[in-house]
Symmetry: C2
Subunit: 362 residues, 2 copies
């Protein structure tokens, strides 16, 4: 097993999540909370934010985007982590499915729909209707249940710009102290802005930190459609006896809290991410996850992007982007499936895919 | 292996399509051709035809329908074959996925969408745009490719009222003599009406039988969105090295012809259906399939519905319904996966499910 894989709970855990035929599910979504200025850089400019998640999904299939004529990138040209996800899935021969959980723009690929509207801006109104949260959970469970019968590890990633702020809001409402712990796609994590958005959303609704007990109500008020959709898929797969990897950073802490409060047995669940998230000084995924469920394994992979010849990829190791579109989890799944795949080999393949993607867009 | 399974190419073929982890895909669709009076009984009355395929898909998940408050049935109360499909998938522990290929009403379940419009009435206009046919093929290939990596047998069923008429039209345009060979959900197969609809559609477009060479153009002019969607999924799975069972009656002959003309290698493909279709005196699936591709295996299963205590199920053996929603293929997959499952055992389970479904609808 590659020494580029680390687990917060030791190496035996890594073997436990080894998989013969993992499957990757990418849940794309939207929250209008992302339109708050300064909150996210997932999109070259504010008007493009809504294209980020469908473009990520298209990139997984085609290595180029169809709904926009460019690789999704930050304003200063850091490429989408979908680049890593696509490469890892290809290297690992891992099948993928895309779930639309309220994306504002629909990708030009076949995707499963949960019939959800985009999430609303929590600084202005309720994020979702309660019935929509229930539908996301329910549809997710149905899909997760079927996938677990075909695959021994269901890896679930997400693409939703602005999602760490809604995750922070849900965690706060449900009594987890997540302030200054959620991650960011920028090295200068805008904690103050996120905290202000969350505090004002809670106080506008008369909610004190920790005063909510129902995960459904908390997600409806302060969350986004990604959270219950991923939770539903995970719950369905776990209930069917499958293993689940939540592939992402601190947003997955909100999913974990929802799963826990729904009474889901999470023994066969782990979080899978990049070393850049786990080692991030501006956030604390390990602390967050352990506060929710002590001992939950966090697997992470070192992709040696600091050694890349591509400045855009090196940036991932310097606090930019760091994770997204399940990049860390997809890399872990590929490395767990194919023992010969190391972080460095994957990095070299990502570099090639980066060049190809630029060529594809001409 | 159950003696209730028969193959037109002998018993070794049956073993070849044996599967450890089959997956079932149900493609739901619509053609306005079904609105021609007298063409189909798939729907309790004409206004309900558009609910038939989404209701079938819902039935697979819930054992009841959500978009209509009844089990889909013919005007005189013959139940939907989804009853058999659901029971077989449950007995076999076979995972299922629903693909929406232009259903007019969307089912209240999670489903993958190929982004297609319902098919138009071929007696009045072109069935589909060429780009829509290409999109169905393309999206199908992407999905089939992923499924074949998870499963050793991709079983593809369909639910589209009126589909035998569009199948007849496509086959005729592409040079297959299918007149009086396509099946029907009624014992008194309305061949004359079907032939008239097809002949007038062809002559209105200046097309002589056999004069078309392009399967894409033929489907666009005379087909329905199910045909290229199923063909695409099959093609994707076959190209990825998987095995495919086209689960249905004579409509699958049109899919087979499209696959053949696209140059698909179909060595690992079979048609799977009920004995009621294969033995039907008013149609000729075996003749049709062999005219398209000599020696293509047709597997069929005897569910002993003639011995059922339920008149609605006995009717299936008396020329009514006979097949649909991949009932035959799902039954075959369940019997191939679990050697102890016989046609009679499955029939008894279907009877129980029938009772339960009536209870569920109160």
């Amino acid at each position: 097993m590659s020494s580029d894989i680390t687990s917060t709970t030791g190496r035996p855990t890594i073997a436990r999540f080894g998989a013969v035929n993992p499957v990757f599910v990418c849940v794309i979504s939207y929250t209008a909370t992302s339109e708050i200025s300064g909150l996210t850089v997932a999109g070259a400019n504010p008007a493009l934010i809504k294209y980020t998640s469908p473009a990520d999904a298209e990139f997984l299939y085609y290595g180029k985007c169809k709904c926009i004529d460019a690789v999704p990138a930050t304003p200063d040209g850091k490429p989408t982590p979908a680049l890593i996800t696509r490469t890892a899935l290809q290297k690992g021969g891992i099948p993928k499915f895309v779930v639309d959980a309220g994306a504002k723009i629909k990708p030009l690929i076949p995707f499963a729909s949960f019939g959800l509207e985009p999430g609303r801006n929590i600084s202005e109104e309720k994020a979702m209707d309660v019935f929509a949260v229930e539908q996301a959970l329910h549809h997710g469970e149905l899909v997760g249940n079927e996938l677990a019968r075909l695959s021994d590890l269901v890896v679930i990633g997400e693409s939703i710009p602005g999602g760490t702020t809604t995750a922070l809001a849900v965690l706060t409402a449900l009594g987890i102290n997540a302030k200054f712990k959620v991650s960011s796609s920028m090295p200068d994590n805008p904690h103050t802005l996120k905290n202000k958005v969350v505090e004002s959303a809670l106080s506008r609704n008369g909610v004190k930190p920790g005063s909510m007990k129902s995960p459904v109500d908390a997600v409806a008020m302060f969350g986004d459609p990604m959270i219950p959709s991923v939770a539903g898929i995970a719950r369905g797969a776990l209930t069917a006896g499958g293993k689940v990897m939540l592939a992402g950073g601190t947003q997955m802490a909100a999913v974990l809290q929802v799963l826990k409060l729904l009474g889901t047995r999470i023994h066969e669940l782990c979080i899978g991410t990049t070393s850049y998230v786990v080692n991030d000084k501006t956030s604390d995924l390990t602390g967050l996850a352990n506060e929710i469920s002590a001992g939950v394994p966090i697997l992470s992979c070192d992709l040696h992007l600091d050694e890349s010849v591509k400045p855009g990829l090196r940036a991932f190791s310097q606090g930019y982007v760091k994770e997204g579109v399940g990049a860390g989890g997809a890399s872990l799944a590929a490395m767990l499936k194919s023992n010969r795949l190391t972080g460095r080999k994957l990095m070299k393949a990502v570099e090639k895919e980066y060049e190809l993607s630029i060529e594809r867009h001409g």
